[in-house]
């Protein structure tokens, strides 16, 4: 009959393999039982995916493929949905068949700018051979303890002023958790009873009882001039007003994903006075008409998490008034989740990819509901501003600026730390009045006024007022008020490379200018002489076309070096 047309004659008797299961990976019954046991009665809702991944990672030290498949089945999710989330976050170790699970102990050495200045690269270089193969040494982005740089985290235990000896000792003694009662790190905190005894929550209770009106409180917040302290500086009172005008149900999301290198103010307040921001949240929720509050805490703050869990439990057990639902959610190692919409995706159990705007978070935010999103410190100030009155807060300020700022200062100064100073203060005054001057033997060379994102200014510009908007003309911004001071022993180009590497590591990978641009920029910045026109063109596209602030701000240090430190790269 007919000759084969186009198809090859099969070789007879050749059997292809029979699939013993439906397509793809099958659920391992043992892994499923283990996952069920870990999850217990917890809901299987997909927004809890990251929480559930933490449970597995904490218990087994990694996320095996079998556990991921079992978790997907348990949560009625696709494997890809689970895998793409698990591989997004630094703190999850996905281990597939044939791969070795990570050692029981991981040491994360911070290599962000402040720790780098303090010599963390030396630790990173020497630790692996000293600690051997039973300990995994990883570099980590800023862990939020820059005032005690360099910092290494052994398991979940942050080692301040880290040395090889201290790290070895922590490993030997099995000190791998962060004790919240360790006064050497946390200088004691005001617990629920103490906070209440000192008049805490009286204001919130008065509001909820109806002794104040939401409109008055919102007007008062507007008058105070308090701006969002996460970095964007959006007026807090106006935000309350905008969200209150959106249809219910509304939600609140509190951002404690403090990850901007050099920033540690939120941790500072949280470790000392955790109820102050909670009271601020209760007042904001009441004023705006919100029933549920989601707190997103970065995973690096293990001690704070234990503390906050305890204090929240105390508050919920004996509330001073009707309080909204509080949900504490744990980050998993991703700087980008400090971006408000990325944080919202992460709270929803997804990859921390920023969303495109419009729509704005105030309109379509968490679970697609209108959402009041605040940095923790913003809420920290609410109580005192209402108690003291808006004029009190607005009465501070220099050079025509208004209010107070919590500067996280690190680098080459005598007294690094959180310093509350008047808005509009200059770097020179900040160093003189609050930081005890430059370190001995160091001369001011330049500074990063806004963490990794805010650009780099030379010493000659240490006399400009520091506040929102004041640095814009110089291609810089204050952001979260993280000041990293460079001295004559440092190089601006090296600092710029450090932060560009950070951005490349932390880019979510969603948009081209940021995902590819940071990598290509970093590559170009390793040249002895920088290709200025190409870097400028790339920078412009990154600033103009990236989806979120990460990609938009990533070129700032590049342009700063080209503009203010040209001699280093010509």
């Amino acid at each position: 009959m007919s000759e084969p047309t186009g198809l090859k004659t099969p070789s007879k008797g050749k059997r292809s393999r029979v699939r013993a299961t439906p397509k793809g990976r099958a659920v391992d019954p043992k892994a499923r039982e283990e996952v069920r046991a870990l999850l217990g009665e917890a809901p299987r809702r997909r927004d809890l995916l990251i929480e559930h991944l933490h449970k597995i990672q904490d218990r087994y030290g990694c996320l095996s493929a079998a556990h991921l498949v079992a978790l997907a089945a348990e949560m009625d999710m696709a494997m890809a949905e689970v895998y793409e989330v698990a591989t997004f976050y630094h703190h999850f170790d996905v281990v597939k068949e044939g791969e070795a699970a990570p050692p029981a102990i991981t040491v994360r050495v911070c290599d962000s700018i402040a720790c780098d200045l303090a010599g963390s690269h030396q630790l990173l270089k020497s630790l692996p051979s000293i600690l051997g193969k039973d300990v995994r040494v990883l570099h980590a982005p800023c862990v939020g303890r820059c005032e005690t740089a360099p910092v290494a985290v052994v398991g979940q235990n942050p080692i301040q002023y880290a040395t090889i000896e201290k790290i070895e000792s922590a490993i030997t003694c099995g000190e791998v958790t962060h004790s919240t009662t360790d006064l050497t790190i946390t200088p004691g905190h005001i617990d629920y009873a103490a906070y209440k005894a000192d008049g805490g929550y009286a204001l919130a209770a008065a509001c909820v009882r109806g002794e104040r009106s939401p409109a008055d409180i919102i007007a008062l917040m507007e008058d105070s001039g308090l701006r969002g302290l996460g970095g964007a500086g959006f007026p807090a009172g106006r935000k309350w007003k905008l969200v209150a005008a959106e249809p219910a149900p509304r939600l609140m999301a509190i951002n404690i994903d403090e990850g901007e290198p050099g920033t540690f103010k939120d941790r500072y307040y949280l470790e000392r006075d955790p109820h102050r921001f909670l009271e601020g949240a209760i007042i904001a929720a009441w004023a705006v008409g919100i029933d549920a509050v989601y707190i997103y805490l970065r995973d690096e703050y293990h001690g704070c998490r234990a503390l906050l869990e305890r204090e929240l439990a105390a508050l919920q057990a004996d509330p001073p008034c009707r309080i909204p639902e509080f949900h504490l959610r744990r980050g998993a190692g991703a700087y980008i989740c400090g971006e408000e919409s990325a944080m919202i995706n992460s709270i929803e159990g997804k990859r921390g990819e920023p969303r495109l705007r419009p729509p704005y978070v105030a309109q379509v935010g968490l679970f697609d509901r209108p959402t009041l999103e605040h940095n923790m410190e913003t809420l920290h100030w609410v109580r005192v501003i209402i108690e003291q009155g808006p004029a009190w807060f607005a009465g501070f300020g220099r050079e025509g600026r208004k209010g107070l700022r919590s500067f996280s200062v690190s680098g080459r100064v005598k007294k690094p730390g959180v310093h509350v100073a008047e808005a509009g203060i200059t770097l020179l005054d900040l160093i003189d009045e609050h930081c005890g001057g430059m370190l001995d033997g160091h001369r001011l060379y330049g500074y990063l006024p806004g963490g990794a994102s805010g650009g780099i200014l030379p010493a000659s510009m240490a006399n400009v007022p520091l506040d929102f908007d004041t640095l814009t003309p110089y291609g810089c911004f204050i952001g979260s008020a993280a000041i990293v001071v460079l001295s004559d022993q440092d190089k601006a180009a090296a600092a710029a490379r450090n932060v560009m590497k950070f951005f490349a590591d932390e880019s979510c990978g969603q948009c081209t200018p940021c995902r590819v641009g940071t990598e290509k920029a970093l590559h170009l910045m390793h040249d002895k002489r920088w290709d200025k026109p190409l870097l400028q063109e790339l920078s412009q596209a990154m600033m103009d076309a990236s989806i979120c602030g990460l990609g938009q701000a990533a070129p700032n240090p590049v342009l700063s070096v080209l503009k203010y430190f040209p001699w280093e790269v010509e």
Binding site: P4, S11, V18, A20, P22, R515, V516, G517, Q540, A545
Partner: protein, 938 residues
């Protein structure tokens, strides 16, 4: 078409685009508006019809007053907005994004149509100034799709295609930053993943990172031909890409049922038409080879049974044999099986030939084996067997109740609409003893005990009646017989039924309330409902659910039996049924008979004819002595196939018209080589009542002839004066006797490719939703018919302790004659498998992948074990497509008394470890691609 008639015209806004003031629709993006005004803006992650993601950043535009540029694919114009697409600032970003992407892909493209290359050229982006990334290795583990992630630009169109369009949820975007990567499941090789090869990702990929395997799409096609998919009843429109006389590859086309979506069969299951087993010459049975029921066909050895003949001889022998039986034994001694795989025109002509040429109504087709009971119940209740609402109407429903159907396998593209609706927040209730992929998307998954449909459904009706959820107004105005139903369901409380059906009373109450009280609820069902001895009762309960709650006759609210074959709706409509003339006009109604006697100018048999299984039984009794079978394979598809084959072997004269030497053709006296779907023109009608036009794309092989021509030639030789030469002429005759399609013209079909019926007058748009005001019954009322519990004919016992459920697989169609000869499909599912729960396998001592033997009172087969925890405990599921382990050797030929449908979904079997490895003949086993796949893997 799927709007709810509440749409308001979109508002117009006035804004400035590149300095020109224009009025635009507020729901059209800046990109769409610019495009409509002839302004080109580059874009890569944007794809028409897909959610815009705005990640590639090549479509950036400047909006006055905004700090940064905006992605024009995601932004909408507002009054007074000033937008510039070509400012120096915008162009820098557009070009830089392209350059960055270009720097990371190989210089030579994997596709002829790289959108990246296209825009780089248009925008004047030359050689990239950046160093490339380190490149990932290729993944050619899948037989249909090649993965070259070195060409990937991370636009995530494939992710959206897989997750948001098809909702197969295989592709993910994993890791982060520069390590971000498209993955399958847990970054597994595509061929080892859960990928169902729908190919939507390939269709979406702009750079060739995902491409048809073996570089077929790098060949420039000679032509493209628009047509419809030949497999299931969803009716997806597609485009064939042709080179010479060969189909290179297939793309989805924007049809009303599929919006360019396809499944693995539609996209990759086309090369059966070029298989070397295609019949190309008429064959006549050798005189010395007797027919016998015990055989396994090896089409390669056709010459052992047949000799080649000329067309003249073959047609004469075929027709004379039929004519002689008619003349000697009477008109009812002949029967014909048409096919739901043929066109409407073929079906119409075939039944006309049987009715006017043979002289009886002994004509039937495989609808008998799939939805006959559904149709019986629907005809009885509302006098219409077709769906009330189209599949895509699920988007207008609040509650979707899917029972006894596995659409992700059997109606894959229909399933995508259901999944889309579930993702968009509709409440999906899935009820099935087998846990299907859809269960994951359901708000409620009810894994009820097989054979207890009526218990579950009557319990729901009990809740509706006893909790006052009945739509009293609807019941009063539009139904009859409610009291009897209400009385009957009293004894079926959820509490009483829970132990029987295995679903707790609370759940039954919840789903009943949800169904009854939603603004719009739709029921979709499949053969899990119909293929039982109580199939008609099952369907009666579903109809009662709709009638009692008024959930029918409005958008998002109705009854939809998912039709199986690409033209089972049309073949039934065209009269390929023993009790109906075309358009369901009853044979035993004098007015109908007179209408057709007049049209056909002949006298007609006033008695309904025999159904499929009845014809086989009559053959066994020698009452039927000759048959003409067009494109059906009863020797594989009938229950208790051993009996069916025995019956066929006793026939004096059998003429089979087919593409391949099927099991049925093996028992023929004359075999007529026919044409495959892409080789002819004609219409088919999908499950949604859409009449769609199939166009000829390639020439048939050898001396194979069009089916229409063959029917006419046989007709002429048995004394009919026919001279149809084109499907168009037949269609026009059909319009004269089928009121439902009277308004559809051939020209309109050529122009629009698809028209929904009822379309009574020319120019009618066609009604997607029917029964809005009345049912097509004499009184206009729908009728309740109560149902009681009836058990399956054969329950498990000590000797045969397990239940056999038969059905289909995603890759294989029906008896496998086409798909097991389609290289990709056969490679993906090469061997006969039985799905058993892993715990049952363990108890039986059977290794997954090992051989097991299934035995029933009628026969025994051996095949491979597949561990599948979706199969209920105590059951075994076997697809009926494998000739080397034919499931229908085991099935029970008992019939539903009303629909005459066999009980394919339930019989008692014994499963044991071991047995003879099924012996394969010259097709199946994945052999067509085995060598090539081995080669690429090495």
């Amino acid at each position: 078409m799927h709007q709810t008639n509440t749409d308001v015209a979109p508002k117009l806004v006035t804004f400035t685009l590149n300095g020109k003031t224009i009025a635009a629709q507020e729901d059209q993006t800046i990109l769409q508006t610019a495009h409509a005004h002839g302004i080109e803006v580059p874009r890569l992650c944007y794809m028409e019809g897909m959610r815009a993601d705005g990640n590639c950043r090549t479509c950036m535009v400047e909006i006055k007053g905004e700090r940064v540029l905006a992605p024009s694919c995601c932004r909408y114009p507002k009054d007074g907005m000033e937008v510039t697409t070509n400012s120096p600032r915008a162009v820098i970003s557009q070009k830089m994004s392209i350059e960055l992407l270009l720097s990371d892909v190989p210089e030579t493209s994997y596709t002829l149509n790289s959108e990246l290359d296209l825009w780089a050229k248009k925008m004047g982006v030359g050689k990239p100034r950046f160093k490339a990334r380190s490149q990932p290795v290729e993944d050619v583990s899948h037989p249909a799709i090649a993965v070259h992630l070195d060409a990937c630009i991370q636009c995530k169109r494939c992710v959206r295609a897989c997750r948001e369009e098809q909702v197969n949820d295989v592709i993910g975007y994993a890791f982060r930053g520069g390590y971000s990567k498209i993955v399958f499941d847990l970054d597994d090789p595509m061929g080892a993943s859960t990928c169902v090869a729908c190919g939507e990702c390939v269709q979406a990929c702009p750079t060739g990172a995902l491409m048809p395997a073996r570089d077929v799409a790098k060949v420039v096609p000679d032509k493209t031909v628009d047509s419809v998919c030949p497999y299931c009843g969803v009716g997806c429109q597609l485009t064939y890409n042709i080179k010479g006389n060969q189909i290179l590859y297939v793309q989805g086309r924007n049809g009303p049922a599929n919006s360019s979506r396809l499944c693995v069969k539609g996209r990759y299951g086309f090369d059966y038409v070029q298989h070397r087993h295609r019949l190309t010459t008429p064959l006549i049975r050798k005189k010395d080879v007797p027919k016998h029921k015990d055989f396994t066909v090896d089409p390669e050895k056709w010459h052992e049974v047949f000799r080649e003949a000329t067309w003249e001889e073959a047609l004469d022998v075929a027709a004379n044999g039929l004519r002689d039986i008619r003349d000697k034994y009477g008109k009812r001694a002949l029967a014909g099986f048409g096919s739901a795989k043929g066109t409407n025109e073929e079906a119409y002509l075939f039944q006309k030939l049987v009715r006017t040429g043979f002289g009886s109504n002994n004509v039937d087709h495989c609808t008998r084996l799939c939805h006959a009971s559904s149709v019986a119940a629907l005809m009885e209740g509302i006098n219409s067997g077709a769906v009330s609402n189209q599949v895509r109407d699920v988007v207008n429903a609040e509650v979707i109740f899917l029972i006894g159907a596995n659409p992700t396998v059997n109606h894959p593209v229909a399933a995508t609409w259901i999944k889309n609706a579930a993702k968009a927040g509709r409440t999906l209730i899935v009820a099935d003893p087998r846990r299907s992929d859809l269960a994951r998307h359901a708000s409620y998954y009810l894994q009820f005990n097989a054979d207890t449909d009526v218990a579950l459904l009557n319990a729901m009706l009990h809740v509706i009646v006893s909790e006052g959820l009945v739509d009293q107004n609807f019941v009063r105005e539009r139904t009859a017989g409610y009291e009897a139903l209400a009385e009957n369901v009293k004894k079926f409380s959820p509490e009483a039924m829970a132990p029987i059906c295995g679903i707790d009373a609370k759940t039954i109450r919840e789903v009943a309330r949800l169904y009854a009280t939603s603004k719009a609820s739709i029921i979709l069902w499949g053969m899990g409902i119909s293929q039982h001895v109580h199939g008609t009762d099952n369907a009666r309960c579903l109809i009662a659910l709709a009638l009692s709650t008024g959930q029918i006759g409005k958008p998002g609210s109705g009854l939809h039996p998912l039709r199986g074959q690409n033209n089972v709706q049309g073949a039934s409509d065209s009269g390929l049924i023993p009790m109906f003339y075309p358009d369901y006009q009853r044979v035993n109604t004098p007015a109908a008979r007179e209408r057709f006697e007049k049209l056909w100018n002949t006298t007609l048999d006033p008695e309904p004819g025999l159904t499929v299984v009845e014809i086989m039984n009559a053959a066994k009794r020698r009452e039927i002595r000759g048959m003409y079978i067009m494109g059906e394979n009863p020797a594989m598809s009938d229950p208790d196939v051993d009996h069916a084959r025995e019956a066929m072997a006793t026939l004096d004269h059998v003429v089979v018209q087919d593409l391949f030497l099927t099991e049925t053709a093996y028992l023929a006296d004359v075999v007529l080589p026919a044409t495959a779907w892409p080789e002819k023109v004609g219409t088919v009608t999908n499950t949604d009542r859409m009449v769609q036009l199939g166009r000829k794309a390639i020439e048939p092989p050898g001396d194979a002839r069009e089916d229409l021509w063959l029917i006419v030639e046989i007709a002429r030789r048995i004394g009919l004066d026919w001279n149809y030469t084109h499907a168009r002429e037949v269609f026009n005759e059909m319009r004269q006797c089928m009121d439902s399609i009277a308004g559809i013209t051939w020209e309109r079909l050529e122009e629009q490719s698809s028209v929904t019926y009822p379309c009574v007058k020319e120019g009618d748009p066609g009604d997607p939703v029917v029964f809005i005001d009345a049912f097509p019954t004499p009184t206009g009322r729908g009728k309740f018919v109560p149902a009681d519990l009836i058990s399956a004919a054969e329950r498990p016992d000590a000797e045969y302790p397990m239940v056999l459920i038969t059905g289909r697989q995603l890759e294989h169609w029906h008896t496998g004659s086409m798909t097991r000869r389609a290289s990709t499909l056969d490679y993906i599912e090469p061997e006969p498998v039985a799905s058993v729960h892993p715990l049952d396998l363990a108890n039986l001592g059977i290794e997954p992948g090992g051989v097991l033997t299934i035995e029933s009172r009628r026969g025994s087969i051996s095949l491979y074990a597949r561990a599948d925890d979706g199969t209920p405990r105590g059951a075994v599921f076997v697809p009926f497509c494998f000739y080397e382990a034919a499931a229908n050797m085991l099935t029970n030929p008992v019939l539903d008394p009303f629909g005459k449908i066999p009980e394919f979904k339930y019989c008692a079997v014994k499963v044991t470890s071991g047995g003879d490895v099924p012996e394969r003949m010259s097709f199946g086993g994945g052999t067509l691609l085995a060598d090539q796949m081995d080669a690429v893997r090495e």
